[in-house]
Amino acid sequence: MELSYPEKLTLIKLAELKRAKVEELVKESGLEQVAVMRALLGLQAKGLAKLHERSERVVKLTETGMKYAQIGLPEWRALKVLREKGKATLDDLKDVLSEDELKPIVGLLRREGWANVRKEDGKLVLEITEKGREASERPIDKALKLLAERGEVPVKEIEKLVPVNELKRRKIGEEDVITERVAEITEKGEELVKKGLELKKEVSVLTPELIKSGKWREVEFRKFDIKAPVRRIYPGKKQPYRAFLDKIRRRLIEMGFIEMTVDSLIETQFWNFDALFQPQNHPAREWTDTYQLKYPKVGSLPDEELVARVKAAHEHGGDTGSRGWGYVWSPERAMLLMPRAHGTALDARQLAKGVEIPGKYFTIQRVFRPDVLDRTHLIEFNQIDGFVVGEDLNFRHLLGILKRFAVEIAGAKKVKFLPDYYPFTEPSVQMSAYHPELGWVEFGGAGIFREEMTKALGIDVPVIAWGIGIDRLAMFKLGIDDIRYLFSYDLRWLREARLVW
């Protein structure tokens, strides 16, 4: 049977006493009153002890009573003066009696028959009687003594001496009800003690001293309420959306993609549009749809040969087998700077720089669009896209790559493909993936880069461009319906957000 340290100690003491008041056990064990009570209740619950409670009316000594016990009752103090002097005026008693005590003293002495009263020269004079000279301890004196000794005395006992009312009237005692708790050991308790109880000291904290000294062997650990509530604490944590992007990045690398980076968030229109065969009068390049910089305004163009090929592709197709857009291409327009609007700009840069063939490339890029920030639009966001380049790539491969993304990243079982349009790809595809919980989600777009673009950049084999839209997926994963929370400025949400893995 598991007994706590106070339980064991109390039981051992109780075994010695057999039956004892709680106060006695407090004295014997040296434990706090509360600890003894808790131990006794515990012992009772385990059938090792019984706790009896008894109520009793008692008389308690008052403060006045305590004073009388020390300096004597007023009548005794007055009598002492009379015994010395034979007679006395009230003035003579002022030394031994307080103002309050002075008034009723004449009545008291006369009732006891200890003095006679008469008037001399208009003053009251007290004169001691024979009875006064011989007076000795009365029942009320005994009662006071008893009270002074014990503090409180059962009414029954006091009533044998004086009526309780008399003590109350004289403000010596007052009546009260006390509850007395008496503990008694049971047979089972005695047997347990006989078998021997190992008594160890209880501690609440395991201190280094206890470990060092080895004293931990001699103590018991106070039981904890393991269900008690605790404080809420917040770990250091990665930003949930960024953690989600990290995860996709790892997955893409596992799938064989090489990561592309770039040195600035700013791009020239050349790489953002022109190198992608997007004509300079394309609606997406209008002032309202494309940011322009106030400072710095213009950047520079890459090497002349490349620029000449891009210019030719736009104007008449150059040697790309195309008739081109048929307009005069402006290098000044291409030099304008803007915050990068799509990750595809990196594809163009990488293709111009040179690529491994076959090769698979990706980038996770921060891009910017002139939009209004609200619960469904961001002004800057992350785009995941890239390309696959290889000698014999075809349209079926493009669908295969897209489908793989849907399976690997969206957990989709079904996909469907729709014709789409991008200025830089032909043919172009949009993919919807069937997400187990979201239903059909527009998940990505792809196409084979136009030859007008790839040939101008110096690549002679098919290049499949792809991009995947993961925002809805991320929002679902993070349990949010406001897209702004992807870049959350809400610390509580960040603190409470579940881990992404």
Binding site: K238, S300, L491
Partner: protein, 574 residues
């Protein structure tokens, strides 16, 4: 990109067959459209069509969609045929329009039976073509008139700004100038001609005004209703090919409704043409090119059949296909464009996807992996990662940081690059709040703290993000450097706590660093320093100045540091 509503009943009337909504969803794909939405209105089913191709205006109305679907389903094959009859109508174009809006092309369509739905499609097509294909009417503006109210010959001429007519929607005459100022359309499109010495005007032989291209039609002739039987179409712009194409799109759409096309002679000062010209265009492709890129085993005959369903006339010859395609298309620049049509006719969802087997190995960027390691370390210090916007504004970067420099770049000072004196700013921001790219990160963290003053402290944040700086040596004149920024906010925070973390970072990255006292108004004097590694200043650390905290509305002390990560990077072997 263009989106428009079509009625199911109208489409089915044009196709000649009825289908279920699900079937329509698939049929739309043949016309490069996505069925965006379906709803019922007055007992009729309507679809929202989202047309994907910005270079196929012929697919931007019910007539065009229905035509393509009719061919795709094999109800018709090869080239769509339209009869053109010559009319004796002549339009004379004024020489003075050369630098104002030089080209106008015209046609008459007779015998129309226009109901509400047909009228709706006509207006929709006109709007979409002028908006998207015509670049908001700059390159193409379209007018359609009740031909019975017009007395040919017709004159497209340069007019004085004081000439008058009643614009559509008004009941009194206004001068051309007044129309640009007061009329709704005048205010919207007036900028296209405002600075010209004359304004373009289309008038008939009696001097009745048809329209002021590209702004507004006249009330008298420019209102087409369900009563209208015969229409006169006017297209103006800057490029003859482009306006001719738009004219073809519009007249063939009207012909799909049973209209009879009649051509018009247009007399320019130096030449004349008969418009519209619906002569098919030609292109040639190698069949092997199509097969190879499609990845499909297609016979020559199969390719021919697929192309005929996409409205091509095909002649096979020597493993090549000689193609003739409709004059309402102008998007075929390369064999790739033909390839896509073959694939769309075949059906994207009928093609078995195949993953390419490529012997390649993935690899992550090493610097990004270094950033990730730093982020792990910061999380280990118990800091919460945040991801904030790069877009910000001048006030947040300087003024609020107690570094006032007003509106002018030249007045900003450089504080050892934290921040630098120069800021990358956007000319045409949507909001002044997002009008620059940040050049240091601590303001972003203070912005974050200012939005969370009601949250429990301590608040300890970090971000690994970009600061965009000017660098004249680069192609983009800028560089976005990777940085680590830390902000600690709680009642007892001091410089020491920030320094403890900084020191932890340096120790774990294996770098010795020094702090040098610095003067910097964003921080409390005497509690700010430059972070120096290998003799180079790479960052700043300090207690944020109470004036700055007040500017951000933060009532809690903040200690922070920020540094460039590149100087702490060493390339790993692995």
């Amino acid at each position: 990109m263009p989106k428009f509503d079509v009625s199911k009943r109208d489409l089915e009337r044009l196709v000649g067959k009825t289908f279920s909504v699900e079937e329509w969803e698939d049929l739309f794909l043949y016309a490069k459209c996505e069925l965006d939405d379906v709803w019922e209105e007055n007992g009729e089913i309507y679809f929202k069509a989202d047309s994907k191709d910005t270079n196929r205006p012929d697919l931007w109305s019910a007539e065009g969609i229905a035509r393509q679907i009719r061919f795709a389903l094999g109800f018709q094959k090869g080239l769509p045929k339209y009869e053109i009859e010559k009319s004796d109508v002549v339009v004379y174009v004024d020489e003075k329009l050369k630098d104002i809006r030089p080209y106008g092309v015209y046609a008459i369509v007779e015998g129309l039976n226009i109901d509400e739905e047909a009228l709706r499609q006509m207006i929709n097509l006109q709007e979409k073509v002028a908006l998207t294909f015509g670049r908001r009417r700059r390159e193409v503006a379209i007018g359609i008139f009740d031909f019975d109210k017009v007395k040919p010959p017709i004159y497209y001429r340069a007019a004085e700004k004081t000439e008058k007519f009643v614009p559509l929607g008004y009941d009194e005459e206004m001068t051309l100038e007044e129309i640009l100022e007061k009329h709704e359309k005048g205010r919207e499109y007036g900028h296209l001609i405002k600075d010209k010495p004359y304004y373009p005007l289309l008038v008939d032989s009696e001097g009745k005004v048809l329209s002021m291209p590209p702004v507004i039609n006249s009330e008298t002739t420019g209102r087409v209703t369900t009563e209208t039987k015969n229409v006169f179409v006017d297209i103006t712009g800057w490029d003859l090919n482009k306006v001719m194409l738009a004219l073809n799109v519009v007249v063939t759409a009207l012909a799909e409704r049973g209209g009879k096309i009649k051509s018009v002679k247009v007399v320019y000062p130096d030449f004349e043409i008969e418009t519209p010209d619906l002569t098919p265009k030609e292109f040639e492709v190698e069949l092997d090119y199509i097969r190879k890129l499609a990845g499909l085993e297609l016979s020559d005959g199969e390719i021919k059949e697929l192309l005929e369903r996409m409205m091509y006339e095909v002649e096979l010859e020597n493993r090549r296909a000689k193609l003739r395609y409709p004059a309402f298309r102008d998007d075929i620049m390369h064999a790739r464009d033909v390839l896509e049509d073959v694939l769309i006719a075949y059906g994207y969802n009928e093609i078995e996807p195949e993953e390419p087997k490529l012997a390649v190995q993935g690899r992550g960027d090493k610097f990004i992996e270094f950033e990730d390691a730093v982020r792990e370390l910061m999380v280990g210090f118990g800091l919460q990662e945040v991801m904030t916007f790069n877009l910000t504004n001048r006030e947040a970067q300087y003024d609020r940081m107690n570094l006032p420099c007003g509106e002018h770049q030249e007045e900003c000072r450089d504080y050892f690059n934290h921040p630098p004196a120069e800021l990358v700013e956007i000319e045409n921001p949507i909001s002044p709040k997002w009008s620059a790219l940040r050049n240091w990160l601590i303001p972003s963290l203070l912005d974050f703290l200012s939005q969370n003053t009601h949250e429990e402290y301590p608040q300890k944040l970090f971000e690994v993000g970009k600061a965009t700086l000017i660098d004249e040596s680069r192609e983009t004149k800028t560089v976005s450097e990777s940085k680590l920024a830390v902000a600690l906010a709680h009642p007892r925070v001091t410089f020491t706590e920030a320094k403890e973390i900084l020191e932890g970072v340096m120790r774990h990255l294996g770098f010795e660093y020094e702090l040098e006292e610095a003067e910097h108004p964003s921080f409390i004097p005497g509690r700010v320093g430059k972070i120096i590694v290998n003799g180079e200043t790479i960052g700043v650390i300090g207690e944020i100045h109470p004036a700055v905290l007040e500017n951000w509305g933060i009532e809690m002390p903040v200690a922070a540091f920020e540094l460039f990560l590149a100087p702490l990077y060493t390339e790993p072997y692995l």
